[in-house]
């Protein structure tokens, strides 16, 4: 069975028309996984009951049920809980942790009829931009096995790109959906902050985290988004359908020229971006230069606020109630030994950094200041969206880099997020869509176009990116 060109919408139509069964569809993906995942390592676990799940879905199809994802095989990032299954966040800390309940996103996917293939590799606790911080070894980019797939949701991006899943879900705190989508050549959406419930998503940066889909097409991303979204009484930060105004049809696209002049953006990326703008202009959009003056500080703000939240959120991994426990002389010693053993270097780095910026004497200079600048960045976007409907920029400053290339210098790795963090800082939605390829050392590496809209305006992102991709 050929799945390379398959989309969720096509597969749903085929299943309804009995062209093949949900079991045959699931088996096709299991075959590809068997064939390719030894090289790619996108999965940490492929579930042993995939066929049984597909049989259940087929029974419903036979009974005439019509659900948006009925029989659709998807993969789930390892930091989202599925009851009764291991959820490790790619950490030794939770190597044997079995989720005690379903995340709301999972409940919704189950209600929509999805078949879960397995859990995907990631940077430990979603901290990183390459999956090299996984305690279980890195995922490889399907376009070049010597390169990273991006991160932190690198496994979720790689399995969609390698045709090892029809779609997947991940989480995005500073670009962890959009950057790997760009590196792997798929569509990745970070919804508006609060649009998708985070109940059952392991918290990293609580004022930034958001769950979203990876797909091959924008239409598929919209299908998954429609399933995932919605207010949830178990996530107080989740928002209602009418929290924000519905957007009007997008006509004007803004280009923040000031950000594009930052150091370290590769020439090919800028060229590809200009081509994308031409294409958008030819599709009938007005392109307008805008300014986001404080976005230059977004990365600094992010690397203060995020670690501060990380240091608080990671306090729960102390060896007491669940996960790894190392023996020690007293309780204090248990905490330290457990955390020293169970957590990786990047997680520790962020806990230490967060503890520093929140500590007496530094709180005002770092955390307080970062919150104030965060407000300025939000004001910049608000002002920009008065005159444009959507903002366009590259998703990443470069195509996928080589495994090991940036692991020694945390700052180099952090600079990867330069175009993606502003959306999380402001809480607005962002999408990355494939914008072509660049030839590097004989390999064709994908690049991505990022589109941003104001709060609650995912529809504008879908409309523009569908036109861009000709859907």
């Amino acid at each position: 069975m050929e799945t390379q060109q398959l989309t969720i919408s096509q597969a749903r139509a085929d299943l309804k028309a009995n062209k093949y069964t949900a079991v045959e569809l699931a088996q096709a993906y299991l075959d590809t996984i068997k064939d390719k995942d030894g090289d790619i390592h996108g999965y940490l676990e492929v579930y042993d009951d995939v066929i049984a799940q597909a049989e259940d879905a087929q029974k419903k199809i036979d009974a005439g049920e019509d659900l948006p994802l009925l029989g659709i095989p998807i993969a789930v990032k390892d930091n989202i809980l599925i009851q009764g299954r291991i959820a490790s966040a790619a950490s030794k800390m939770l190597e044997k942790y079995t989720a005690v309940y379903d995340a709301t996103a999972i409940t919704k996917l189950k209600e929509a009829g999805a078949v879960f293939l397995g859990r995907t590799n990631m940077d430990e606790f979603a901290m990183g931009g390459s999956t090299e911080n996984s305690a279980y070894g890195p995922t490889k980019n399907p376009h070049d096995l010597e390169r990273v797939p991006g991160g932190s949701s690198g496994g979720s991006a790689a399995v969609v790109a390698a045709d090892e899943a029809l779609a997947s879900i991940g989480s995005d705190t500073g670009g962890s959906i959009r950057q790997p989508a760009s590196f792997c050549g798929c569509v990745g959406l970070k919804p508006t902050y609060g649009r998708v419930s985070r109940y059952g998503l392991m918290a990293m940066g609580s004022s930034l985290d958001q769950i979203g889909p990876f797909t091959k097409t924008v239409t598929d991303a919209e299908i998954l988004y429609d399933v995932l979204k919605g207010q949830d009484e178990r996530d107080s930060t989740s928002i209602a359908d009418d929290t924000y105004e519905k957007p009007k049809e997008p006509k004007v696209i803004g280009v923040p020229r000031d950000i594009l002049r930052s150091d370290g953006i590769e020439k090919e990326v800028l060229e590809n971006f200009e081509e994308a703008l031409t294409k958008l202009e030819e599709s009938g959009y007005e392109i307008k230069d805008i300014s986001l003056p404080n976005s230059a500080y977004a990365l600094s703000v992010y690397y203060i606020i995020m670690p501060a939240e990380v240091s608080s959120n990671m306090a729960r991994y102390d060896g007491v109630k669940f996960g790894l426990r190392s023996e020690g002389e007293d309780l204090q010693d248990v905490y330290k030994k457990t955390r020293a053993k169970g957590l990786g270097a990047e997680v520790k780095r962020r806990i230490m950094l967060g503890t520093y910026v929140l500590s007496t004497g530094y709180y005002d200079a770092y955390y307080g200041k970062a919150l104030a600048v965060r407000r300025l960045i939000q004001e910049d976007f608000k002002k920009a969206f008065e005159s444009v409907d959507v903002i366009a920029m590259p998703t990443t400053p470069n195509p996928a880099f080589k495994i090991g290339e940036k692991t020694e210098d945390p700052i180099q790795m952090y600079l990867e997020d330069i175009f993606t963090v502003p959306a999380n800082i402001a809480g607005i939605p962002g999408i990355s869509v494939p914008s072509g390829f660049v030839s590097v050392e004989g390999k064709e590496l994908p690049l991505g176009l990022q589109l941003l809209a104001t709060h609650g305006s995912e529809e504008s992102l879908f409309a523009v990116s569908k036109k861009f991709l000709g859907e």
């Binding site: 928002i239 020293a340 407000r375 210098d409 700052i411 952090y414």
Partner: protein, 95 residues
């Protein structure tokens, strides 16, 4: 610049333990990250806006507790590293 004793103090506050080589590495890494994020200090000090999470909704809302008593109790107890009769066992806290 951040000093070795500062890193050791942070490790203590963070409930982490490091070898001497690790401490040195963290001293270097934290130093360069702090040097980078110091950029926020360039932004005009005359910000009179209240620090806020702004349009990021409800982060500080004192929401009602949506969790129900006893839900998933068996599974949660099942995840305890050590338990006795449904009670969580920990090391002594006081000497």
């Amino acid at each position: 610049m951040i000093e070795k004793k500062d890193v050791e103090h942070l490790a203590e506050l963070s409930r982490l333990e490091f070898s001497d080589t690790e401490i040195e590495k963290f001293q270097k890494d934290l130093g360069s990250i702090l040097e980078y994020v110091d950029q926020v200090k360039e932004v005009s000090a005359s910000i009179d806006l209240e620090p806020t999470v702004g349009d990021v909704h409800n982060v500080l809302r004192p929401g009602e507790d949506a969790h129900q008593d006893g839900e998933h109790q068996k599974e949660i107890v099942g995840e305890f590293p050590e338990q006795e009769d449904g009670y969580l066992k920990v090391k002594k806290i006081l000497n």
